[in-house]
Symmetry: C2
Subunit: 418 residues, 2 copies
């Protein structure tokens, strides 16, 4: 029988009514002839409650105990969903991570998949089970202890099951009805996309359009699992939502697919860095060791200081989340104190935001950058840093212009048109 993976997030299973509603969506697919693997998150709020208890008990907690406690939230939902489906006359049972087993590494709190043997679940399908309800977000380490995959791990679980079981598609039910050209709260002209390429989704996800967890999109791209994002609160059918799929399944790609943004960015510049081979590694190794999440990196010759420094010097600029500025500053100052790097001054701008245009079409079309910069210039928005990749162009600008920039770019690339 063809197989479908359906994933329900925390808000979609927040209480018994919503679980019943989700179960109806599963029923529809069973009636259409699919065997279904359902991946469930914990009921909304439960994971935070459990994490709160762990943190209230122990500040530097044992990640193995954290995992044992926190994974229980998904187990509850899995059992309730199986019961609900049984109540509707559908042969279903729940599976906890260790029962499948979902084998992972032993990196507790952020484990990675090792293998998902199909044998146990396949056997039950062969015996007439129509739905396997699997607790998301968790697995079992080689030593038999419970692991969790980190936040958003249920998305990743869903894609991993779709890959392991050769599912026709992985449907992710959430509280939005699809992926939009930009955030509808910022631009009223935002349009829901019918299809988007994996790579575009990856850029949009990591840039702040928090519909799908980045790791799950990466995994889907690697195993070519078509991924559909749709709402658990609307009536949905086989054309609802947005399909995240391989580039060649999209007939006429637009040059630009969407505008993403990230509000709470900070720009850090090391002024007049002594420029020598290995200087970049000397700067970014201590940042990585301090757990600082560096995003954009730009290096340019510091003309202003060139005259004062007869040796080769440069300025090094990078962006980090605002919350990590102090971590970054301390890491840099420590590295300078230890003589590993040399710079004149560390300047911080915590009032910036990042805006990006994303689209696989820009690979083959010149002029996207020009059109982007023109649109921003027409609004008198000053660009502070530019960074480009194959399918996106990002700029840092003053945070107060962020909404204006998103709207201007949405208009400039005519994204309201299908």
């Amino acid at each position: 029988m063809p197989l479908l993976v359906m994933k329900f997030g925390g808000t979609s299973v927040a209480d018994l009514d919503r679980i019943a509603n989700a179960a109806k969506k599963v029923q529809r697919e069973v009636e259409r002839g699919y065997d279904v693997i359902v991946i469930v998150s914990a009921m909304a709020g439960r994971t935070n409650e459990l994490v709160g208890w762990v943190e209230g008990t122990s500040r530097l907690y044992d990640a193995r105990e954290y995992d044992a406690v926190v994974a229980s939230g998904e187990n509850v939902t899995a059992g309730l969903m199986a019961l609900r489906l049984q109540e509707m006359g559908i042969p279903a049972r729940s599976w906890q991570g260790w029962q499948v087993p979902i084998n992972t590494t032993d990196q507790h709190g952020s484990a990675r998949f090792v293998s998902i043997p199909r044998h146990n679940i396949d056997q039950k399908f062969a015996e007439g089970m129509r739905v396997a309800v699997v607790a998301g977000f968790q697995g079992i380490a080689p030593d038999g202890r419970i692991t969790t995959l980190g936040r958003g791990g249920s998305d990743t679980t869903a894609v991993a099951f779709a890959a392991a079981f050769g599912a026709e598609r992985c449907d992710t039910y959430t509280d939005v009805d699809g992926v939009y050209t930009t955030d509808p709260r910022i631009s009223a002209k935002a349009r829901k996309l019918d299809r988007i390429a994996f790579e575009e989704m990856l850029e949009l996800a990591s840039l702040g359009a928090k519909v799908l967890q980045t790791r799950s999109v990466e995994l889907a791209m690697r195993f070519k699992v078509p991924l559909r994002v749709l709402s658990s609160f609307d009536e949905t059918d086989e054309t609802s939502g947005t399909l995240v799929c391989d580039e060649d399944q999209i007939m006429e790609a637009k040059v630009v697919t969407g505008i993403a943004y990230s509000r709470d960015e900070a720009k850090i510049t090391l002024i007049t860095v002594e420029d020598r081979p290995g200087i970049s590694a000397a700067i970014f190794e201590p940042l990585a060791a301090a757990g600082v999440n560096v995003d954009m990196i730009v290096q340019n010759i510091s003309e202003k200081n060139y005259e004062d420094h007869p040796g080769a010097v440069t300025d090094m600029t990078f962006s980090v989340p605002v919350a990590q500025v102090e971590h970054a500053r301390r890491a840099m100052e420590a590295a300078r104190a230890e003589g590993k790097i040399a710079y004149d001054e560390l300047s911080v701008d915590t009032e910036v935001a990042k805006v990006s245009v994303v689209g696989i079409g820009m690979r083959s079309h010149a002029g996207v950058a020009a059109r982007m910069f023109r649109a921003l210039a027409d609004e008198n928005i000053n660009i502070k840093v530019i960074s480009t990749s194959e399918i996106k162009i990002s700029v840092l600008i003053d945070r107060k212009y962020m909404e204006l920039a998103v709207q201007a770019l949405h208009d400039a690339f005519e994204l309201e048109k299908a």
Copy 2:
């Protein structure tokens, strides 16, 4: 190292403060040189919440899914307790039922222990772990699915571990500070017992003194595990609480140890039953099949009706919980309609209570019954049914006299004196 089992009930781990308080009691035993196995219940209220969700999802639920959902409550507490102990510098880890593994039968919702292999936990003790925190109330069935032991199963888990690991003692921390000669809410003269024999505790537990679950006392008696009941809210030391132990560890047993009661009883009498071999079986088989919990059974010749019935006739009286009266009535009427039994009338008295005197000393002392009946007669309390066992005498009386009867008997046997 000597080993102790410590069990904490739901009110003793109801929140993070109480878990911390319980952890201090564990710490004290570790510092005294014990390795400790801690058995924990779910945080108070959690199990009811989970059961409510299951029942709200499915009325005739799959007991395997019920178990998977409900067992999660204990898993949370086990992890939090292990974290708390680690925070105090004590090497500890949590174990879920399937990790030990606690092998049980597959009677989901009321599973029985099959085996508790020591290997995994012993190995961790050998590696320096001082405390194994085990989720109570649960186990794993032969097919790998999660089982629960039924209400009060955490007490039973504690005793089973004490037996399996040869523990010196099993300390059960609860919200009372020991076992009393009777309910202190009924008699102000109730006195806490230092020691009580297993058999006496068994009679008291099953008669309504709900401190320890009956099955756990049976198990302790069978494996001769000394069981101590004490309060998790008081300062306690090695003499606190009540020790439930083998008869021969009690130096001078009193004739009567305690007065038990059970408030919501009903008396059912089948009047003028045709008396023939097998009639008792014909009456009680349908009651058992209907799940009716029959307690006392008394049969006596029905003199009143003897003249009207030339054949042998009898009256049959038995007691059931008030809540099961209608089930019992329907079972009897159905059996009569099917011609399996014959009787003239079924009379029900739902206004009775049971009062019992319990004591191993009464085995060797005559006159306990006489003294009991005299004490009740002096208060003008009419006895409706009498039933005796080796170490207890129970009577059914009008419910309105129950408190008076308990107080009178407590006085008559001078239980206020140590």
